[in-house]
């Protein structure tokens, strides 16, 4: 039995606001309501990275929130997809170039689907998530790495943190370059 089929049927969503204006978040919550009802696809807004498959990020990644973003991303077990939701999350939007923000979440974590709009409409979000599901089905169980993590991992008692394993892979790649 191919278990990958069932990934499409029960995607659990983790919603993370990386410093946005709450516009997109309201739209995401609207998706859960009676009108759009994304639960008919089996989706749950789980609020817990350890049990989620789709990371739905809004906001332009402020400096305060990027560490948390990477940590939350690292705590999601593979296979996982990231949907960046709204103009800010995709490119930085109106906040691009400001001293306290970076331009979009893809500077930190790999993004699979970009959903545009300010704020993006529920139809767009649902469409983006459905697109993400196709990507999710094709993904493997390989450890995915967050982009800007060049810290040297610290081994303690023979065990390393997942996030630092990811950093190790990145680190070796960078030393090649």
């Amino acid at each position: 039995m191919k278990l990958a089929v069932y990934r499409k049927k029960s995607p659990w969503i983790l919603h993370y606001n990386a410093g946005g204006c709450n516009g997109c978040d309201i739209e995401i919550l609207a998706c859960l309501g009676p009108k759009y009802d994304i639960e008919r696809f089996g989706m749950i807004n789980s609020g817990n990275p350890k049990q989620s498959d789709i990371l739905l990020v809004t906001g332009p990644v402020t400096k305060r929130s990027r560490e948390r973003l990477v940590e939350v991303y690292a705590q999601m077990p593979e296979p996982k997809v990231v949907v960046s939701c709204g103009a800010c999350a995709c490119t930085g939007g109106v906040f691009r170039g400001m001293y306290n923000c970076e331009g979009g979440i893809d500077q930190y974590i790999p993004v699979d689907v970009y959903v545009c709009g300010c704020g993006s409409r529920p139809e767009q979000i649902i469409d983006g998530v459905i697109k993400a599901l196709d990507i999710l089905e094709r993904k493997t169980l390989e450890l995915e790495v967050s982009v800007r993590l060049k810290k040297v991992p610290v081994e303690e008692n023979g065990q390393v943190n997942r996030r630092e394993v990811a950093a190790k892979i990145i680190h070796t790649q960078h030393t090649y370059e």
Partner: protein
């Protein structure tokens, strides 16, 4: 047989004297030798004594006993004078007066002063084996104690004198002898609580002394009433023989009150809580596993005449109330030993309740509780001592990260608490039997039983909650420290914990055998009616109750094995992730929850006093 029994009385005294004389280096050796031989003697006696065995000691010993009584009371009076404590003064003066009167009035020819029946040898088993382990543990504990060498020796030798006193108190038939040994345990308790000599210790020692003096006074009063009612010599067996005589309820109620004092039931619970300032081996030995067991022991002794009387009803009501109230009182505590003390009072209440009801099934429940509580609670207390000496922790709120620094200690405490709570451990069986028998009383249109059931059900739930309060803070550890070696607490400490753990698990596994081999003979010996115990398939039929063994065996796999395996198991090829904290990377410090119960606790002692009055009223009517 008499020399063997007498050796249990004399041998610890000799050991205590030798310990005083010989240098400290040899103590460990002597303690091991005497603990082993005392345990061997008690096992031998348990196997060989089936029928109640009466024996007399020479007549001049009666005079010696009376002399000791007077000396002891004078000593207490002297303490009262020296420390200006009027309660102790009045109580010992009253006792002295009553004693002189009784010595003049009572018939001087006692026939048999000692009676060793199945219950007594059962108590021997617990006293000698558990005390042996604790004395062994104390050799190391006292090394760490901050006091002079002679005081350390003194501590250990008093411990052995106490063992002798305990052995005698459970085999005394004559109430005068019983009174002396009862007072001797009081003395031991007083000396031990005041051992550290700081103001708090002295204060608590005095509290313990006056409360236990009250216990002694009511026992003397019971003797007075036995003489007054004209039952002849003041012995337990004589009291039993006059079980249906008029006025017998008054001495019974008084003896029951003495038991309540020793068992630290609620109006008197303060002394046991204060006793926790003593060194931990004392708490383990006197204040949880042996001395306080005099309370259920006395009630068990009296149960054939006590059952179905109004006095028994009041005792049941009081202990049901105490079971609930002390569990609630414990929720506000932070000191680990005080939490243990509260749970001891609660479980003692359950034992007293079961003994006071007095049917074979409840006596069985009481005995099972006595044995398993002794093992579990002494192990918990020894762990409290290890926490104090090795990890320097006294409060539960300081136990954070104990799962990382002391994985073995935390495992032992987990098992200890769980053994008091859930199947398949003996303490659970005791609780289960009690609920079922109370249920069958309720079936006989007994509304009174309903209230007791409710107290047991609620108290059990509160106790469960209490255990999680301690466990919750203790067992947490972080993911990166997955592979933790067991800590080294020293040979003596770890060996004594290992022995108790092994005892806990073997007694749990061997419970079906022990039921028929140990408990049922004791119950039959006590109630006079032989209790039938037989296997039918996978159920053990004990009296009217059927104990299903198959689920029990499965429960053995489920809990104890789970907790131990969880300690050692390591999943391979599995990623480790940090705990979820909204993406934050802060090291949190944890503390356990706290309930303020000060608003209700004053009412508890008022209700306790009312129950005591009710006890006397019930006796007089």
């Amino acid at each position: 047989m008499i020399p063997v029994i007498l050796s249990l009385f004399i041998f610890p005294v000799i050991t205590g004297l030798i310990l005083l004389i010989l240098p400290w280096k040899t103590t460990k050796f002597i303690v091991i030798i005497s603990a082993l031989s005392l345990s061997a003697i008690s096992v031998y006696l348990f196997i060989n004594i089936d029928q109640p065995y009466y024996f007399a000691v020479p007549q001049y010993l009666n005079k010696v006993v009376a002399g000791f009584d007077i000396l002891l009371l004078i000593y207490f009076g002297w303490i009262a004078l020296r420390l200006k404590n009027w309660k102790i003064g009045i109580l010992s003066a009253l006792q002295l007066a009553l004693l002189f009167y009784l010595l003049r009035v009572l018939p001087s020819s006692h026939s048999m002063q000692f009676m060793v029946d199945k219950l007594a040898v059962f108590m021997y088993l617990i006293i000698n084996i558990i005390s042996g382990i604790i004395a062994f543990y104390a050799t190391r504990y006292m090394e760490e104690e901050d006091c002079s060498l002679s005081r350390k020796k003194y501590f250990l030798s008093v411990m052995f004198f106490f063992i002798a006193a305990m052995n005698m108190v459970v085999s005394a038939d004559d109430l005068e002898y019983f009174y002396l040994f009862f007072e001797l345990t009081t003395l031991a308790s007083f000396l031990f609580i005041g051992f550290r000599k700081d103001p708090e210790s002295v204060r608590n020692a005095l509290t313990a002394l006056w409360m236990n003096q009250a216990g002694g006074l009511v026992i003397l009063a019971a003797i007075f009433f036995i003489a007054y009612n004209g039952y002849g010599a003041a012995t337990f067996s004589n009291l039993m023989a006059n079980g249906s005589a008029s006025g017998v309820l008054i001495p019974l109620a008084l003896l029951g009150m003495g038991a309540l004092v020793k068992g630290a039931q609620i109006p008197f619970s303060n002394w046991l809580l204060g006793a926790m300032v003593a060194p931990t081996p004392v708490s383990a030995l006197l204040h949880s596993s042996t001395m306080v067991k005099i309370a259920p022991f006395m009630i068990l002794r009296l149960s054939p005449v006590l059952k179905d009387t109004p006095v028994a009803m009041v005792l049941v009501a009081l202990s049901g109330f105490v079971f609930l109230a002390s569990a609630i009182g414990a929720l506000a505590q932070d000191n680990f030993k005080k939490i243990l003390a509260h749970s001891t009072i609660a479980l003692l209440a359950l034992m007293i309740m079961m003994a006071a009801i007095g049917t074979p099934a409840t006596i069985l429940a009481s005995l099972i509780l006595i044995l398993f509580h002794a093992i579990s609670k002494s192990m918990l207390f020894l762990n409290a001592g290890i926490l104090e000496k090795v990890f320097h922790i006294k409060q539960t709120s300081d136990m954070d990260r104990l799962g990382e620094t002391g994985p073995f200690t935390s495992l032992a405490i987990t098992i200890g608490f769980m053994s008091l709570l859930i199947p398949p451990f003996g303490a659970f069986i005791g609780k289960w039997l009690s609920i079922e028998t109370l249920g069958s009383f309720a079936g006989n249109k007994n509304i009174f039983a309903v209230f007791v059931i409710i107290a047991v059900a609620c108290g059990g739930a509160v106790l469960a909650f209490l255990y999680f309060k301690v466990l919750g803070i203790m067992i947490s550890r972080s993911g990166e420290h997955d592979r933790i070696p067991f800590e080294n607490t020293g040979t003596v400490f770890s060996v004594s914990i290992y022995i108790l753990l092994v005892m806990l698990f073997t007694s749990m596994l061997a419970l079906p055998v022990m039921l028929t081999g140990i408990f049922v003979p004791v119950v039959s010996g006590l109630s006079g009616v032989p209790l039938m115990a037989a296997y039918s398939g996978f159920t053990l039929q004990v009296g009217d109750l059927a104990i299903p063994l198959l689920p029990m065996m499965a429960a053995i796999v489920l809990f104890p094995v789970t907790v131990i395996v969880a300690m050692f198991l390591r999943f391979k090829k599995v990623d480790r992730a940090k705990e979820y904290a909204c993406g934050e990377k802060i090291n949190y410090s944890f503390s356990s929850f706290y309930f303020s119960t000060e608003r209700v606790t004053p009412w508890f002692s008022i209700i306790g006093v009312l129950c005591l009055i009710a006890l006397l009223v019930a006796a007089c009517i």
